[in-house]
């Protein structure tokens, strides 16, 4: 190929790269710094509300992995008592279909996303592990009633002052680094 004035294109590209040097950084120093996830995150641990669950079994039928184990026995007239409600988060693909199908809002996706485990058996979530606690909170996926209490997602589209992710120009100098900082 022949070029009349060799180097113009490269100079233009370099000019953009130079401009980029003076833009604020977009990445953060995980895990020292964490971004706020979406309100509707389909997190790694589901939340189950035993008082709302009727044991109808719709969620077990909706799950495409056949992942939810539900054992009930008949209590007073027209009521099921749930003996066992168990799901394996190692097999779950976090599609959210079980949450969508539950007619009594008894199941919700969790907010957690750092759920690595040392042993395979620990990924099985039984009735106790699925219950609502301070650390184990539901997300607003298909449950808009939980959306109000959750923090706003940090979007890359907005600047930091508008609650976004774009940082100051020299963020590293102002921040302590290392674990526990």
């Amino acid at each position: 190929m022949k070029f009349e004035r060799y180097g113009i294109g490269i100079a233009k590209g370099m000019a953009l790269t130079l401009k980029h040097l003076f833009r604020p950084p977009l990445t953060v120093q995980y895990p020292d710094e964490k971004l706020v996830v979406s309100k509707r995150i389909r997190g790694n641990e589901l939340v189950w509300f035993p008082d709302r669950c009727t044991g109808c079994g719709t969620c077990t039928k909706a799950c495409l992995q056949g992942n939810i184990i539900l054992v009930t026995h008949r209590g007073e007239p027209n009521k099921f008592i749930v003996d066992k409600f168990e799901l394996d988060s190692g097999r779950c693909i976090f599609c959210g279909l079980c949450v969508e199908s539950c007619p009594y809002d008894a199941l919700a996706m969790g907010l957690e996303y750092e759920c690595a485990k040392y042993r395979r058996g620990e990924t099985i979530l039984d009735k106790d592990k699925l219950k609502l606690t301070d650390q184990h909170q539901p997300s607003a996926y298909y449950r808009p009633q939980f959306a109000a209490g959750l923090p706003k997602q940090s979007l890359l589209i907005y600047d930091k002052k508008d609650g976004g992710q774009k940082l100051n120009l020299f963020p590293l100098s102002k921040r302590k680094r290392g674990p526990g900082a």
Partner: protein
């Protein structure tokens, strides 16, 4: 006495950084010149078509996410369209617009990745790729806001979409669309005139018009060869006939044309998004009344869309039961990769990487 020579066989992949996944190329070489290329596929086969036969119609949707995982919402859309055709379901107005918005966002996200990875293959290591990913990240943020995950969205449903967008979605989308043309201009500035890039891509890996049509190529590969074929125009689905946009085409069908078609297509996607933001009804139902376990009447239907990589089709056969009798997937990447031998023969090994990168394949879709 003539010297007896033997061809040299080179295995590229399955674990090679430029094959974009687990993909193997068996290249027959004469010195450094390619005599023959044989793609060997199947390393990522998960049997999605067979799995779909044991799932209900709704449960197939998360499986379709795993085909083209770079633009998974378009897979949802193609599947839902064919099931809607089968069962004769009408989709509410607002849901149609949301579907169009997300398909165009996915097209942008896919082309960012395609161009970035292509430039990476050309030797512009990492810098353009990261520039492109910066913009792709914004799209992923928007999708995360709507459906809770960043890659496998599982958002569309038969008869609409799973849930309405949150109220902070529309302002964020408007800001994104407003600043997008500036960034596309930046990419043009970065690459379009770069002499090294031009020297490596202009006239390399030419796919003639007739060959492209005969192979059945689609998407930017076909349009790069100068064929004006876009299913959004030729067989409009959803509400695409309401939007005003152009179909960019290339001239000779070399690697540069395929890149250039993608870049111009991004501008058209932004145009569609601009119109969709204005036209979308502010309120309304987003899902037709389709039960979770529904049974479409016995029959068959084929629905196809213009996915970012080309013509993506789903052929669904129902026997009236709760699960589909057969789901066949017609993936664009598989058809486009068969054009590789036609493009690469006669070029050097270093050009093979560029030609392969310019096709833009995703292995999840090829192997299914």
């Amino acid at each position: 006495m003539p010297i007896k020579t033997e061809p040299f066989y080179l295995n590229l992949g399955p674990q090679h950084p430029s094959t974009h996944g687990v993909f193997r190329l068996r290249v027959e070489l004469d010195g450094e010149v390619i005599v023959n290329v044989e793609p060997i596929i199947g390393y990522l086969h998960r049997g999605i078509e067979k799995l779909a036969e044991t799932r209900t119609y709704t449960q197939v949707i998360p499986l379709t996410d795993r085909l083209d995982y770079v633009a998974s919402m378009t897979n949802n859309l193609a599947y839902c369209l064919s099931v809607e055709k089968l069962a004769g379901i009408k989709v509410p107005e607002r849901a149609e617009y949301l579907r169009v918005i997300f398909s165009e966002l996915m097209r942008l996200a896919n082309h960012f990745l395609a161009i970035g990875a292509f430039l990476n293959d050309c030797g512009a290591l990492a810098t353009p790729l990261i520039y492109m990913w910066r913009e792709r990240e914004k799209i992923v943020d928007l999708c995360e806001m709507t459906c809770g995950q960043r890659l496998l969205f599982n958002y569309m449903r038969v008869g609409g979409v799973s849930q309405d967008v949150p109220e902070e979605f529309m302002p964020a989308l408007k800001k994104f669309v407003a600043e997008m043309p500036k960034f596309i201009g930046e990419y043009e500035q970065l690459i379009k005139q770069n002499e090294i890039f031009l020297a490596r891509t202009k006239g390399v890996g030419i796919l003639p018009k007739e060959t492209a049509i005969n192979i059945g190529a689609s998407g930017p590969v076909l349009r790069g060869s100068g064929v004006n074929w876009d299913i959004r125009k030729k067989d409009p689905y959803s509400i695409y006939e309401r939007f005003d946009f152009e179909v960019p085409t290339g001239e000779v069908g070399d690697c540069y044309d395929r890149f250039w078609v993608r870049l111009r297509e991004m501008r058209q996607s932004v145009r569609i998004l601009e119109q969709a933001i204005v036209q979308i009804p502010a309120k309304g139902p987003i899902r037709a009344d389709v039960p979770q376990f529904f049974r479409p009447p016995a029959g068959e239907a084929y629905g196809h869309i213009e996915a970012p990589k080309g013509n993506l089709g789903f052929y669904v056969v129902s026997d009236g039961s709760i699960a589909p009798y057969r789901v066949h997937i017609f993936p664009p990447s598989l058809i486009n990769v068969t054009a590789l031998a036609d493009m690469a023969i006669g070029w050097k090994v270093a050009d093979l990487i560029i030609v392969f990168g310019s096709i833009d394949v995703v292995l999840g879709e090829i192997d299914r």
